[in-house]
């Protein structure tokens, strides 16, 4: 089947989801009110709380949620066939991610734009604050470990990407300094930055850098040397002010995101590549993970990602001009992420191979599918780019640079955020020294994922994505489950039908818990991966804790519904002073 047909069909389904399902959510479930005074107006401070045009806000929201994660999951999951992967992306995006991202935004707006972490404490229970912090700690640890391995693998497989990635750092700083000092418009310098980056891609293509000799001297694998370098870099980068490196590099990255999406979809249209991957894979090799539950945690970002609730409630909700804009910003943002995941499916099912035999050679086992995921994506995108006249090998460096740029920025941010989480947990535990030391917190933020990425057995093909990625997927889905629980309780308290939220929440928690239990058995049986047993166990305990907390909170809110609001309603209830009128509630 031509990939372009699939792309058009998916876009059409996304459009239907937006037109009908998001309208249902907006009117019947979240009961958005165009006259509601949003925190952006009520608390306008010109910094965080600024009423913002919905199209502008969508751009800010989308560039904050889109990146490398929705690329990796689908690139692995086509192992089960491209149809199940795509179905989960489409159904997940329309009925889970849209509900989640939109809902987190809506609930936050009704609570002074507070973030999902503090809402969890108020809406679910005060205990769940530590639950939230623990889930985020593991989420960030796994993100940093996995993306370090992604970068290490890509630098080894595509050594031409090394020069552009490392020269991009001083280049970004120089551009930032130029804009800062001259106070000039950013357009021309950032375009110059992108052009310079593409020139560096050409330079890197002709001057690949490999660390084989250094790795031999150190007695390490080249990939592991890159992993260590990346963590040293992120530790230093996380100590720099964001305006010095992170922001100017984001100028270049945001251009890259749109260029990569454009190249993919125009390349698909021009090349009319056909999907050669099997629609459904009935002949799975023995020992392969079952599609249930593993498909649903392998593709997290791209179908539903708990991290989006942090963006929705952390920054976006503070800028919503009208409450009804939440539909456009939150729901369409999720559709954008789903589109990125679809691009990944097309790249690894149509772009990466010309025949079924070639494809089978790339995806013989789950381990190979996992180990080769990012390389397959890079080669697939390179094929689409070559449809537009770019030399294939040069195009592979281009695609590798896109993935590494996003992965590196995610690591920068991940380590930066992890320091705060470590300090927050230390404050709760009354570990004063750690709670006050950014350096100590930063070292923990770097050391834990570094050890995980280099743990014994990590050199096994498929470790990063066959194992760590699945753990990352489970924690990401747990975060989504927690956010959905908050939204469900809020919707229930407002006398609305919460089924649209409960359905994805229950599905996610079942899949997550099921996967954690299976994985626990797998890790137990593999002595070289003993480290992962306690890790999996802790995440499983968090999942069960979350299920209990969500169950209690929902039961309480249902009881409140029957008896009217409690006299001891928490802050979150008290703040929700803008409940819809009785007429609305009956609507």
């Amino acid at each position: 089947m031509p990939a372009v047909v699939v792309a058009i069909t998916v876009f059409a389904l996304f459009a239907l989801g937006y037109i009908y399902y998001s309208r249902y959510l907006a009117e019947k479930v979240y009961a958005l009110d165009p006259a509601f005074v949003t925190p952006a107006h009520e608390l306008a401070d010109g910094i965080d709380y600024v009423p913002t045009n919905k199209h502008v806000l969508f751009g800010h929201h989308f560039t904050s949620i889109a990146g490398a994660a929705p690329i990796v999951g689908p690139a692995i999951a086509v192992f089960w066939g491209w149809v199940p992967a795509l179905l989960w992306i489409v159904i997940g995006t329309i009925f889970a991610a849209g509900v989640h991202d939109f809902g987190a935004l809506a609930v936050s707006v009704r609570h002074k734009a507070r973030n999902i972490g503090s809402l969890t404490a108020d809406v679910i229970s005060p205990r769940s604050r530590i639950l939230f912090l623990c889930i985020i700690f593991f989420l960030l640890t796994l993100v940093n470990a996995v993306f370090a391995v992604v970068i290490g693998n890509l630098f080894v497989a595509f050594p031409g990407a090394v020069i552009p990635i490392f020269v991009e750092i001083p280049l970004a700083i120089a551009i930032g300094q130029y804009i800062y000092r001259t106070k000039s418009p950013a357009l021309v310098p950032s375009i110059v930055g992108v052009i310079a980056l593409y020139f560096l891609i050409w330079v890197g293509h002709h001057n690949p850098i490999e660390l084989t000799a250094l790795a031999d001297a150190l007695g390490m694998a080249p990939r592991d040397v890159w992993i260590v370098i990346m963590f040293v870099y992120t530790f230093i980068a996380s100590r720099l002010p964001v305006w010095l490196l992170l922001q100017p590099r984001d100028y270049i990255n945001s251009h890259q995101l749109f260029i990569a999406l454009g190249v993919t979809f125009i390349g698909v249209l021009v090349g009319m590549d056909r999907i050669v991957a099997p629609a459904f894979r009935g002949d799975l090799p023995e020992g392969s993970p079952n599609i249930f539950p593993f498909l649903f945690i392998t593709i997290a970002c791209g179908a539903i990602s708990g991290f989006h609730s942090l963006v929705s409630s952390g920054t976006t909700s503070k800028q919503l001009d009208k409450e009804t804009d939440a539909r456009h910003v939150g729901y369409v943002g999720a559709l954008g992420e789903g589109s990125l995941a679809m691009a990944s499916v097309l790249a690894v099912s149509a772009g990466v191979a010309a025949t079924r035999v070639e494809w089978d050679a790339l995806y013989p086992t789950y381990g190979d599918a996992s180990a080769g995921a990012t390389s397959n994506f890079v080669n697939g995108i390179a094929q689409f780019a070559s449809n537009l006249g770019v030399e294939f090998t040069l195009a592979t460096v281009f695609a590798a640079v896109v993935v590494v740029s996003f992965a590196a920025t995610t690591m920068d941010t991940g380590v930066r955020l992890q320091r705060y989480i470590v300090q927050e947990i230390a404050t709760i535990l009354n570990w004063k020294r750690l709670s006050r030391s950014l350096t100590a917190a930063g070292l923990i933020a770097v050391a834990v994922p570094l050890l995980l990425a280099l743990m014994p057995g990590s050199d096994d093909r498929g470790f990063a994505f066959g194992t760590l990625w699945r753990l990352f997927g489970t924690t990401n889905q747990l975060t989504a489950g927690l956010a959905l629980a908050v939204v469900a309780v809020w919707v229930t308290k407002r006398m609305r039908n919460p089924i649209a939220i409960l359905a994805p929440m229950v599905f996610l928690l079942v899949m997550t818990t099921w996967a954690l239990i299976i994985q626990l058995g797998e890790f137990w049986d593999a002595p070289e991966r003993w480290v992962l047993v306690p890790l999996d166990l802790v995440i499983l305990v968090l999942a069960l804790w979350l299920i209990v907390e969500a169950g209690i909170a929902l039961r309480r809110s249902l009881a409140d519904r029957r008896t009217g609001p409690r006299a001891d309603a928490g802050e979150g209830d008290a703040m929700d002073t803008t409940r819809p009128s009785a007429r609305d509630d009956q609507g």
Binding site: T63, S64, G67, G117, R129, K183
Partner: protein
Amino acid sequence: MTPAMPNSPGTSPSHRILLVRPWNMPDGVGAGCCGGGSTKGLCVATGHEAPHGDPRFRERAGWDAFAEMYLAVKDTVRGRADLEVVDPRNHLYLLPVLFGDARRRGVERWQALRSALRSPGYAAIIVDGRTVSSGTLRTPEEAVRLIEAALADALAAGDRRRV
């Protein structure tokens, strides 16, 4: 009682004022899924709800001047113009809007394009596609004065066109 919202449905101000954020004060970032929001110190932890006084968000102190200017302009133009604050990177939004606004003022295509490309500078103030300030973060009083003058000019130009 629900206070009236500026620019709420029913009112249709005929002017558009764009305030371009200082470049080190953008909103979203291209940081990627599971990494977004770094620029503003994404509030994942409950203790970071009020980061103004938090030394980890030191760079935010410099943003207060922009905030004061924004609040002054907002109060001044309430109901008379659409006021939007835009990230300087948001070229996908800025360029068509600036081009369109300039064309509506009767500016020729090529001139409108040049103006659109040059406009979104540091802390720029743009009224109906016309850059009234760029490269300097204006005080609230200066910003209000510049905007009032630009709106008066626009009004006069509109009258001339109607005549």
